[in-house]
């Protein structure tokens, strides 16, 4: 259990990463400063990745579901905050960065074989503050979104110009028997009463943009639960079978890359044949979530105080948001992240 808590925390408990000038200024205090911060937030939310012609693929690589990865030391850099300092070793995280990058390259190669021409990779893993892929070893055609914070977290930069969305190295949801299972900052997260994992939450936001999920890779638990949540039209790639929260029967990195390449090619073919539908749900969305029991009360207070969203408090650490916009749900995820940081 603790492991799962630690891994998930990596996404949400890192130190402030504002530039030095901003850090020196601290939190906005006057009305003018608040207005400036708000204007900047609107600007960042409205930005797009550079446009490219051809079939566009948006790839979200996470680390816990990669082939071979079983232990937190393999996915944490050690600079995410005090409690992570001892949870890394250069023999582990550095090595897995390269494996991660190669998994993404294999996915791009497969998609390219099936005719894709534009690739955006958005770091989905919070280790090293969303900077795990090695930029110099990544396929040179790819645009890489790295760093933190970013407005839509795991799908920052996605828009309706993309032909498909793929998740590699994804992990199973909080409380499930998957390797390093967790779900953002939550012990539970449902929309209209339906439990969603990280893939599902992002699939809903993407679905609203008309973009569907064509490939998901991770352990067997993740694949099974994701089919339940968003349907089984996507191409599944099982990288390993979980036999414990930090143990798995895993395929070799080379074999995983082969499966990802073949899977991504099949995924693009399915998309181009119109065989995969975007994941949608009935509006308004009734979003209900419970913050992790392991978070201090100050986090709950901060989330309760998020004035941008009309949150209803349902219990000690449970809230409800009713909205017609999945994008607003994404902004809420980002805001909760900020609240956890404070």
């Amino acid at each position: 259990m603790r492991i799962a808590v630690f891994v998930g925390m990596a996404l949400f408990t890192a130190p402030s990463l504002a530039g030095p000038a901003l850090r020196a200024q601290g939190q906005p205090q006057t009305d003018a400063q608040r207005a400036t911060a708000q204007a900047r937030q609107q600007l960042f939310r409205s930005k797009h990745v550079p446009h490219e012609a051809g079939f566009r693929v948006f790839i979200v690589p996470d680390m816990e579901g990669m082939g071979s990865a079983v232990d937190i030391h393999e996915v944490i850099a050690g600079n995410e905050g005090e409690r992570y300092k001892t949870l890394t070793s250069p023999d582990y995280w550095d090595r897995f960065r390269l494996l991660l990058t190669k998994e993404v390259n294999a996915t791009i190669a497969g998609a390219r074989l099936a005719g894709a021409r534009s690739f955006v990779v958005n770091e989905g893993h919070g280790g090293n503050m969303f900077a795990n892929v090695l930029p110099w070893d990544l396929d040179t055609a790819a645009i890489l979104v790295r760093g933190f914070p970013k407005p839509l977290v795991m799908i920052t930069g996605l828009d309706s110009t993309f032909g498909t969305l793929m998740f590699t190295g994804a992990h199973a949801t909080a409380g499930s028997p998957g390797v390093m299972a967790h779900n953002f900052a939550f012990d539970s997260f449902t929309v209209n009463g339906k439990a969603l994992n990280e893939v599902g939450i992002n699939a809903l936001m993407a679905g609203e943009m008309g973009v569907s999920v064509s490939l998901v890779s991770g352990d067997d638990v993740l694949i099974a639960e994701t089919k339940e949540m968003i349907g089984s039209e996507f191409v599944p790639v099982i990288t390993k079978r979980a036999v414990g929260r930090m143990a798995a029967i895993t395929y070799s990195p080379a074999r995983v890359r082969r499966m990802l390449q073949a899977g991504a090619a099949e995924a693009v073919r399915r998309e181009r044949q119109g065989r995969i539908r975007p994941f949608t749900m009935a509006r308004p969305y009734r979003v209900e979530f419970t913050l992790r029991a392991s978070y201090p009360d100050s986090v709950v207070t901060a989330v309760a105080g998020l004035s941008e969203f009309k949150l209803e408090k349902l219990g000690d650490r449970s809230f409800r948001l009713v909205t017609d916009s999945a994008r607003e749900m994404g902004y809420l995820l980002d805001a909760i992240e900020q609240a956890v940081l404070r």
């Binding site: 030095p20 020196a24 110099w136 979104v145 970013k150």
Partner: protein, 345 residues
């Protein structure tokens, strides 16, 4: 310039190691101040000397390009704490890979400029992460002259002289207050000349402009390239990343960035040789107005010391000052003295 360099400089130069302060956050109980006037370390005389020395090595004919290499605007850079500082200054080993990237980007613009007929290359270290020793000398184009180390007079324009034909800046970051990755500007929250906002690239262009040297290429994130075109006109720019927060961006592959830098540097030199890129020339006298970074404004000693620098007058708002002169070089020297002042313990 790295906003985070003050810590290491202070410790290294004045042997005050241990009392490390966060950038822009003067310690509450300040230790005794070193009140040595800036001129005693380096000032007008030394800048002149540096200029004369570089002039000896600057060719009389051909086309000489002066390249400033900063780091925050390099491909893939998003985070100050882990990527812009070496281990011995509170950073991580990740910094080392970005030194290579800096060297590669400088080499790319040299290759492009050479293809368009440039014949001499002077490279000035513009980032303080390792005390202005970031470029890997053995991997830099062997024909380039490299200016490295600190202190050096007018850090980002050291040795600039009228024999130089054009300036370029790579790895540049956006101005203080701009929505860019690790955006900042020297010790300032704002810096204007005759009412025009200038970022670090703009200030270098202003100092070079008086000698007739145009800034012909700037590379960095989309905030930097947009604001620099606004400040300096239609110079060549390479946007290496699109900003999503002060520490997140969508970046092109380094390999693609190098290709774009080569092409842009070649275009820039061709346009400069055809007389299409003009130096930044402002009306004299220059009315400089600057506001210190908020962290420095709270530091009484820094505020007072800067206020007493020769020619500096109160700007009406606490921490803001005005300075009027007919010489851009004097503005450079003022910058130098302010930098020296804020770096003291």
């Amino acid at each position: 310039m790295s906003a985070g360099r003050s810590v290491g400089l202070t410790a290294a130069l004045l042997a005050c190691g241990g009392a490390l302060q966060a950038q822009g956050q003067p310690a509450a109980a300040a230790p005794p101040r070193d009140t040595t006037p800036p001129g005693a370390y380096f000032g007008v005389t030394e800048y002149r000397l540096a200029r004369q020395k570089l002039e000896l090595d600057t060719q009389n004919s051909g086309f000489t390009v002066y390249i400033i290499g900063d780091m925050e605007g390099l491909a893939a850079v998003v985070r100050n704490a882990t990527e812009m500082r070496p281990v011995d200054r509170g950073g991580t080993p990740q910094h080392e890979r970005f030194r290579q990237e800096l060297t590669d980007e400088v080499n790319a613009v040299i290759a492009g400029a050479r293809a368009a007929g440039a014949t001499q290359f002077i490279v000035n270290e513009g980032h303080g992460g390792t005390l202005f020793r970031n470029i890997l000398p053995e991997q830099l184009d062997p024909e380039a002259i490299l200016i490295r180390g600190y202190p050096k007079p007018i850090v980002m324009s050291t040795g600039l002289n009228p024999k130089v034909d054009a300036m370029m800046i790579v790895g540049a970051h956006a101005n203080a207050g701009s929505p860019g990755v690790i955006s900042h500007s020297f010790a300032f929250d704002s810096f204007t000349v005759n009412g025009r906002q200038l970022n670090e690239a703009g200030i270098a262009a202003f100092i070079g402009g008086e000698m007739g040297i145009p800034m012909i290429l700037a590379a960095g994130d989309d905030a930097l390239t947009a604001e620099t075109r606004e400040m300096l006109g239609p110079l060549e720019t390479v946007t290496v990343k699109t900003v999503f927060s002060g520490s997140a961006a969508a970046g092109l592959s380094p390999a693609r960035v190098h290709g774009q830098l080569r092409a842009a540097a070649a275009r820039a030199v061709r346009r400069a040789r055809a007389g299409q890129l003009k130096p930044l020339v402002l009306d004299r006298p220059y009315h400089v107005r600057f506001c210190l970074r908020r962290g420095y404004v709270r530091d009484d000693w820094v505020r007072t010391t800067v206020g007493r620098l020769p020619g500096v007058a109160d700007g009406g708002t606490p921490g803001c000052f005005v300075f009027t002169t007919a010489s851009a070089e004097e503005v450079g020297n003022l910058l130098n003295e302010i930098e020296w002042t804020v770096l003291k313990p």
